[in-house]
């Protein structure tokens, strides 16, 4: 009987995640699978299939070009590096801009700069990136080589021989030993276990460390490949990246078997607890599911960058305006002097050298103007701060380094560091307005603990004591005492009852209840040695659902110890007595039934169905005519349990008589061997047998809150962040978790929407809106300070369930829901499916400019993590899918607080300032060039040497802004955590907005005027030469922009000192070097000019005159209209905040400052 493998196609065993809480978890992916299943129900056509001939790699590979097993994660080879790397780099707009400018400059008519100088910036950036890429690729090459040269045992000439991984081909038969890693995806043929079971650990694949069971087909089991030829053909689907799906048929000796995901071992998995396994390779190398899944995270763009693009467009307009002014002036100049130009000493249009005078380098008035325009674009190119994009990337890498290294974000329990998977959105962390959180595994630990039981209408929950090491409980194995690995607290009364056997009616029910807990699961018990006590062996329950583990451990604590699971039976040691139960059938959990069942052949020859599942689904299949008061009592208990935030499961039993069993057996056999519609058939069989059950009782499991969650939620709320919890749990559980996590407080008015039709949803939404408005008016009259007060004064919580959302999302009601939700400070959505989670996120994301963040840990959160502006994955117990899809990953929910309030705030402030500063830095330089052009008859001469122009944004001013962008901190970590409302600066876009942009631009204009015109008038009609005054301008502008930055640095560490003063010194050195080359026009100019006092007086005057207005405005702002950050900074420095009417920090939290 193929009872081990009843549910092929219907996802692997890990779907079952515990009844009541309904881990809607993988419903999303399940939906996808079902669809796929629907499609592949039909025979896999020869065109779509790959045919693999067993042990005939040559034949398998002759028709199709299957890829070999060597993998290549590296991107380049030694020869292809240069062209491919350049090609990839030029995918960036910034580099193309650079390139176009450089190419334009190569045209002789437009050659403003020399060849070398014009290519230098581009070459510099390209080579830095190329070196970085080359290094990374070299490391990939190295790891590829190691991976490809690993050895595996492959059947060659009827013998298993060692072969390098890269030489493995599709169709070859491979033997894997225990603890070895699988070299490719292979269909399992046989294993060391007589039942054909193999255990694998998929930690490399999806991060789940528990063991998964895989099965070999009965038909292939007895074969020993060395001795007898296996001939067969596997027809399987094309390579795809679905690691939970596999569809294939195997023809062996005329028999046709169907294969599902439980028959395949995937590359990267490790074989565990199985001496050996033999399989046939079906997908190799890059076609394996592991490789197909190893693609990087999708890239997102930060909001700041999007905003910045607008300002970049403004700057482009500036650039065009400047260029147009120059061209128009040049046009007028040329026009007015058209008669003089021929022999004008400084123009000389005509060339008289060769007989007839002809035009020299002059292409007519119109073209000259056009060329002037293009040349001015070349000269003013850095108006568009291309270097900013590169600096931003560097800064983000630096910020990421500090986030990763932050000890506070390090999770000791799971030994996991913070991960930055996306390097584009660091600064978005400082502007989050909405947090969408998953509940289980995110707010809670997903570490289940059995807490209470209601058996036959009696609630057992008092007098909890720790489970004793009672010898009666322990079963012996190899002379050693067997104990469950995890201790569970037990109720003494219940323990007493459980030990009494089946004597009384009550005791029998208790017996059946625990038997159900021990048997009705998919747990694999493993026996491990106890490190402390050599006389004791520990039982480790490996299972994919933490709920099941908790229940199994609980059963063990009460003396019902599951000790062994093999293909057809389980052994349960009941109060020390080993009993064997035949597992006749197992109906897996699925989202429609929301329950699972197991059919056991008991030692007393009876056949029983044990069913456990969510209360809603269970009460519909329980025979309500029997034991009515028991049912009522249980229902009451369930109510109590859920209100305490416990996850509940209802357990039912039914004895099958012979005819019933026979009928079920036939149907089950038929269904599990069916090729078409197997999943649906199995579901039908299950619902037929899960019927007219007798209630046994209910269990309650505590899903423990993660450490620090209530405090974290409190902080987030104070920071003005709206926290929405989206959970698959039922309403009562969700609400109770809401209370225990301080998400909901008694002060709140809650609005609950439970509807089951579109009309009723509409109505309840309208009512809720009216109600919420009323609440606002009430609070509005008492506190008429502004709209933002209301939420704080009379907070409203919205609780809505998945069914209502079905009718609301994607309909015109969305608008109303959004309006309502935006009035509420807390929104709790329960019973939501993964796609609905994404729907809710997009509901908010599409309607506001506020930033959204999703945080979750499971595969069910992937869609919402990808939907939100920022996705955070919790690297928890539920595998790595969420982490893989996320932008940032961390170990605990509470890390969200330092991540957002501290790092997010810093990153946002730094990046905002850095963008403004870079705009300023480049614009001031361009304006200086522009002013000079006005004094050179619009001919685009630059007094500043071309080398200095190019080095300006590479050496002279690049490092300080990057270092400040990485290191400067406006406030200390302590202050930011103490006053979460400081986070509001990000919400109000205080660090970067168009007002600041325009202020900066006005400042830029003034500073450029100061830099340019002070030397101009000081040296007017003097003997000054172009190079000398150019050096003065160069040094002046560099000192100015560095001091400007110095003025805005908040924390001066030695690094800031080093880079600021270092940059100024480096500039002097560079200017000296440039002026020491005799063939440059500016030879020795700096030495001549620096000997004069006038030079130094000019420098000083420039710096003072340029910076004073900014200093004054800055001081006035900070002193007379300080923002929260400024107040907090002074509080930090002087101990207590100033006494000021503006100091709202302590009196009025949540509120933003009025100066936003």
């Amino acid at each position: 009987m193929d009872s081990q493998n009843p549910c092929e196609g219907e996802i692997s065993l890990n779907q079952w995640k515990g009844g009541n809480s309904v881990r809607e978890v993988r419903h999303g992916s399940r939906g996808g699978d079902l669809e796929m299943l629907g499609l592949s129900q039909k025979e896999i056509g020869d065109d779509d299939a790959r045919l693999v001939y067993l042990n005939e790699p040559v034949k398998s590979n002759e028709r199709y070009e299957f890829s070999g097993n060597s993998i290549r994660t590296s991107k380049y080879s030694a020869f292809s590096f240069l062209p491919r790397n350049l090609f990839r780099q030029f995918h960036r707009v910034a580099y193309i801009y650079f390139l176009i400018i450089a190419v334009l400059n190569q045209l002789p008519q437009l050659a403003v700069f020399g060849r070398g100088a014009s290519i230098m910036p581009l070459a510099f950036v390209l080579s830095v990136t190329a070196v970085k890429d080359a290094y990374e690729d070299w490391r990939r090459h190295r790891s590829d080589r190691v991976e490809n040269n690993r050895l595996a045992w492959v059947l060659v000439d009827d013998q298993f021989q060692q072969k390098k991984w890269k030489d493995i081909q599709v169709g070859e038969i491979i033997r894997i030993q225990t603890n070895e890693t699988l070299p490719c995806d292979m269909v399992l043929l046989s294993t060391s276990e007589p039942t054909g079971v193999a255990y694998v650990q998929t930690v490399n694949l999806d991060g789940e460390s528990n063991l998964k069971t895989r099965y070999a087909k009965q038909e292939t089991l007895p074969r020993i490949p060395e001795k007898e030829m296996i001939n067969g053909l596997i027809k399987c689907e094309r390579p795809n990246r679905n690691i939970y799906g596999f569809q294939a048929n195997m023809e062996i000796e005329g028999k046709r078997l169907s294969l599902g995901p439980s028959n395949i071992l995937l590359r990267g998995c490790e074989l565990k607890n199985t001496a050996w396994a033999i399989g046939v390779a079906v997908y190799c190398g890059r076609e394996t599911k592991a490789m197909l899944n190893s693609s990087g995270a999708s890239s997102k763009r930060s909001q700041l960058e999007t905003l910045m693009n607008f300002e970049t467009i403004i700057l482009s307009v500036f650039l065009i305006v400047l260029c147009s002014i120059v061209s128009i002036c040049a046009a007028v100049w040329l026009r007015r002097r058209r008669d003089e130009l021929d022999i004008l000493p400084f123009y000389r249009r005509k060339d008289f050298a060769h007989g007839d005078p002809k035009d020299f380098n002059y292409y007519g008035w119109g073209l000259e103007i056009f060329f002037t325009f293009l040349m001015s674009v070349i000269v003013f190119q850095i108006m568009i701060p291309i270097s900013l994009y590169i600096s931003m990337e560097l800064v983000r890498v630096g910020q990421a380094y500090f986030m990763i290294r932050d000890m506070i974000l390090y999770d000791e329990d799971s030994n996991s560091r913070f991960q930055c998977r996306s390097l584009n959105i660091n600064e978005d962390l400082g502007q989050i307005k909405y947090v969408f959180s998953d509940k289980t595994g995110t707010l809670t630990e997903n570490k289940m603990e059995f807490q209470r039981a209601s058996i036959w209408g009696v609630d057992y929950s008092d007098g909890r004591t720790s489970s004793q090491n009672d010898p009666v409980q322990g079963s012996k194995i190899d002379g050693k005492i067997l104990q469950p690995k995890m201790k569970v607290k037990v109720d003494p009364q219940l323990l007493e009852l459980s030990r009494r056997g089946k004597d009384t009616k009550g005791a029998k029910n208790v017996h059946d209840f625990f038997l159900a807990l021990a048997a009705c699961n998919t747990i694999v018990p493993l026996v491990v040695d106890d490190r402390l006590d050599s006389t004791v062996k520990l039982l480790d329950y490996q299972g994919e659902s933490p709920d099941e583990q908790a229940l199994a451990y609980a059963a063990a604590a009460y003396g019902f110890m599951l000790t062994e699971r093999t293909s057809g039976h389980i052994i349960i040691s009941i109060q020390g007595e080993r009993q064997r139960f035949n597992v006749l059938g197992l109906h897996e959990f699925d989202s429609d039934r929301k329950r699972m069942s197991v059919i056991l052949g008991c030692p007393d020859k009876t056949v029983k169905v044990f069913v456990k599942g969510a209360d809603t689904s269970m009460f519909s299949v329980i025979d309500r005519s029997l034991n009515t008061n028991i049912i009522h009592a249980t229902e009451a208990h369930l109510q109590t349990y859920s209100s305490m935030g416990l996850r509940t499961l209802v357990i039912g039993i039914r004895e099958l008589n012979n005819s019933e069993f026979e009928q079920w057996h036939l149907e089950f056999e038929a269904a599990s061997t069916a090729i078409i519609g197997r999943a649906a058939l199995l579901r039908k069989v299950a619902s037929n047998v899960e019927n007219s059950l007798t209630i046994l009782g209910a269990s309650a499991i505590e899903d423990k809150l993660q450490q620090g969650v209530p405090e974290a939620i409190e902080s987030l709320r104070t920071a003005g962040i709206k926290v929405w919890v989206l959970t698959g749990d039922k309403q009562e559980t969700a609400i109770s978790i809401g209370y225990s996590s301080k998400l909901l407080t008694s002060k709140m008015t809650s609005i609950i929407i439970n509807s089951n039709s579109k009309e009723s949803s509409r109505k309840s939404l309208e009512d809720a809106l009216v109600a919420s408005k009323k609440l606002m008016i009430v609070s509005g009259t008492t506190h008429n300070t502004g709209p933002s007060d209301e939420a704080a004064v009379n907070p409203v919580a919205l609780i809505i369930d998945g069914t209502s959302l079905v009718y609301i999302l994607d309909s015109e009601l969305e608008e109303q829901l959004f309006e309502l939700a935006s009035r509420c400070s807390v929104v709790l959505c329960c019973r939501v499916a993964p796609l609905q989670k994404a729907g809710i996120v997009s509901l908010v994301k599409n309607r506001t400019r506020d930033m959204t963040l999703s945080i979750g840990d499971g595969a069910n959160d992937v869609s919402m993590i990808q939907m939100a502006d920022v996705g955070v994955g919790i690297s928890g117990r539920e595998g790595q899918q969420a982490v893989m899809a996320s932008d940032f990953a961390m170990g605990q929910f509470r890390f969200l607080v330092p991540l957002l309030l501290v790092h997010g705030h810093w990153n946002y402030q730094r990046m905002g300032y850095m963008i403004l500063y870079n705009f300023y830095r480049n614009a001031v330089f361009v304006l200086i060039l522009f002013w000079y052009v006005l004094f050179t008859s619009f001919s685009l001469t630059t007094a500043i040497t071309e080398w200095s122009s190019m080095l300006y944004s590479i050496i002279y001013t690049a490092l300080p802004t990057i270092v400040v962008g990485i290191l400067d901190k406006d406030l200390s970590r302590r202050t930011l955590l103490k006053y979460p409302q400081l986070y509001g600066a990000g919400h109000r876009r205080e660090a970067y907005n168009s007002k600041l942009f325009w202020l900066t631009m006005i400042d830029t204009l003034w500073q450029s005027v100061a830099v340019f015109f002070i030397p101009l008038y000081a040296y007017w009609a003097s003997t000054i030469d172009g190079s000398s005054i150019g050096d003065l301008w160069t040094l002046a502008v560099v000192i100015l922009v560095n001091l400007h930055l110095a003025m805005d640095i908040i924390r001066w560490s030695w690094i800031s000192h080093a880079v600021i003063w270092g940059s100024i010194i480096a500039t002097f050195i560079c200017v000296i070097i440039i002026d020491s080359v005799p063939i440059f026009a500016g030879y020795w100019a700096i030495f001549h000019v620096a000997k004069t006092e006038l030079f130094w007086l000019c420098l000083l005057a420039i710096v003072a005159a340029a910076l004073i207005p900014r200093f004054v405005v800055k001081f006035l702002y900070q002193y007379y209209s300080p923002c929260d950050i400024q107040i907090a900074r002074e509080a930090e420095k002087f101990g207590s905040p100033r006494e000021s009417p503006n100091t709202k920090i302590e009196t009025n939290p949540i509120l933003g400052s009025p100066h936003g």
Partner: protein, 336 residues
């Protein structure tokens, strides 16, 4: 103790592991690095307190105003005689068409000007010529030179940047390019009373240019031989490094109004001295409306006469003082 430790770390790394005394040092380094990683480096966090700001502005004021006054005084001590002669040095009949006058080689370009010294002028007195509305910084002009050729002469072949004054009659021009071609060639002779004032025309160019930029073995060749004469001619027997007028001229001016050093008078001029200038008005600025001026100027530590910087210093200093007073008043009135 510390010394020993340091020596052993540098010489024998094995010792580091065995001698426990090293651990505190390591620790310190690790601690410093960890402070860096946790972004807790010691730092100074200046905050703009009103007192600091007011003091800063007062200090700026107290520094800038005296400096401004000193600068202004230095500028005022400079005695300067400026005489624009381009218009008046064209004889009356030619005033209507100055260009044809200047182009006509047969006409005498002699011209006499009378300058009156108003104040005592202390030696050395610099003689400059000043050109206005002359764009020596025009891009076509600035680029039209070959620094290689100036240094190496005919040995340097790539002189394409000199066009359209690269070659003439198939022969290369040394020095090539528009700048050299348009060499200024007015000459001045100064007479006080009856005696001719000696003008020192040596060392008027930068020493660095003479030594390293203009070849000592490079002689003018085929220069100013074309159909269009742009300016002065050069003595082909004198190497470029000694052609100081050319060197001065080739250090192109930054601004459209500029002075170039012509020479120095190394004796004092007394107040009320009358100086007669005999000049050769050769250079053509008439075709584009450029002005020519002769300037006699003493010098100070600041250079020539220019009040701008002194005034700006006083202005900046004054504003600072005013700002500090305003802040002080505001602070007293509305102390937070």
């Amino acid at each position: 103790m510390e010394l020993v430790v340091a020596a052993s770390t540098s010489t024998d790394s094995a010792l580091v592991r065995t001698i426990p005394i090293h651990s505190p040092r390591r620790h310190r380094r690790n601690a410093a690095f960890s402070e860096f990683k946790q972004q807790n480096l010691p730092a100074c966090k200046p905050v703009l307190k009103p007192a600091y700001v007011i003091t800063t502005f007062l200090l700026i004021g107290f520094f800038f105003i005296p400096v401004g006054l000193v600068t202004l005084r230095a500028s005022r001590t400079v005695v300067e005689i400026v005489d624009r002669y381009d218009a008046e040095c064209v004889p009356e009949p030619f005033r209507a068409d100055k260009v044809s006058f200047i182009k006509d080689i047969s006409l005498s370009k002699n011209c006499s000007r009378i300058l009156k010294v108003r104040k005592h002028m202390k030696a050395p007195i610099y003689i400059y010529y000043q050109l206005d509305n002359y764009y020596q910084n025009h891009r076509r002009y600035v680029k039209s030179r070959s620094d290689q050729q100036l240094l190496h002469g005919l040995k340097s072949k790539d002189t394409s940047s000199c066009n359209p004054e690269e070659s003439n009659n198939g022969l290369p021009i040394v020095p090539c390019g528009l700048i050299a071609w348009s060499l200024f060639n007015d000459t001045y002779t100064l007479i006080r009373g009856t005696e001719k004032l000696s003008i020192n025309r040596k060392k008027i160019a930068w020493e660095s240019d003479r030594n390293s930029k203009f070849g000592k073995q490079v002689y003018p060749f085929n220069f100013q031989n074309g159909t269009l004469i742009g300016g002065g001619k050069l003595d082909p027997k004198i190497p470029l490094s000694d052609q100081e007028d050319l060197i001065v001229w080739m250090r192109t001016a930054a601004l459209p109004s500029f002075r170039k050093l012509y020479g120095r008078i190394e004796e004092d001029l007394e107040a009320d001295d009358v100086i007669v200038v005999h000049l050769m008005n050769n250079y053509n600025t008439y075709s584009f409306g450029g002005k020519k001026k002769l300037v006699l100027s003493t010098s100070s530590w600041l250079g020539g006469r220019n009040d701008f910087l002194g005034v700006s210093y006083i202005f900046v200093g004054g504003s600072s003082v005013i700002l500090s007073i305003v802040f002080m008043l505001l602070h007293m009135k509305n102390s937070r």
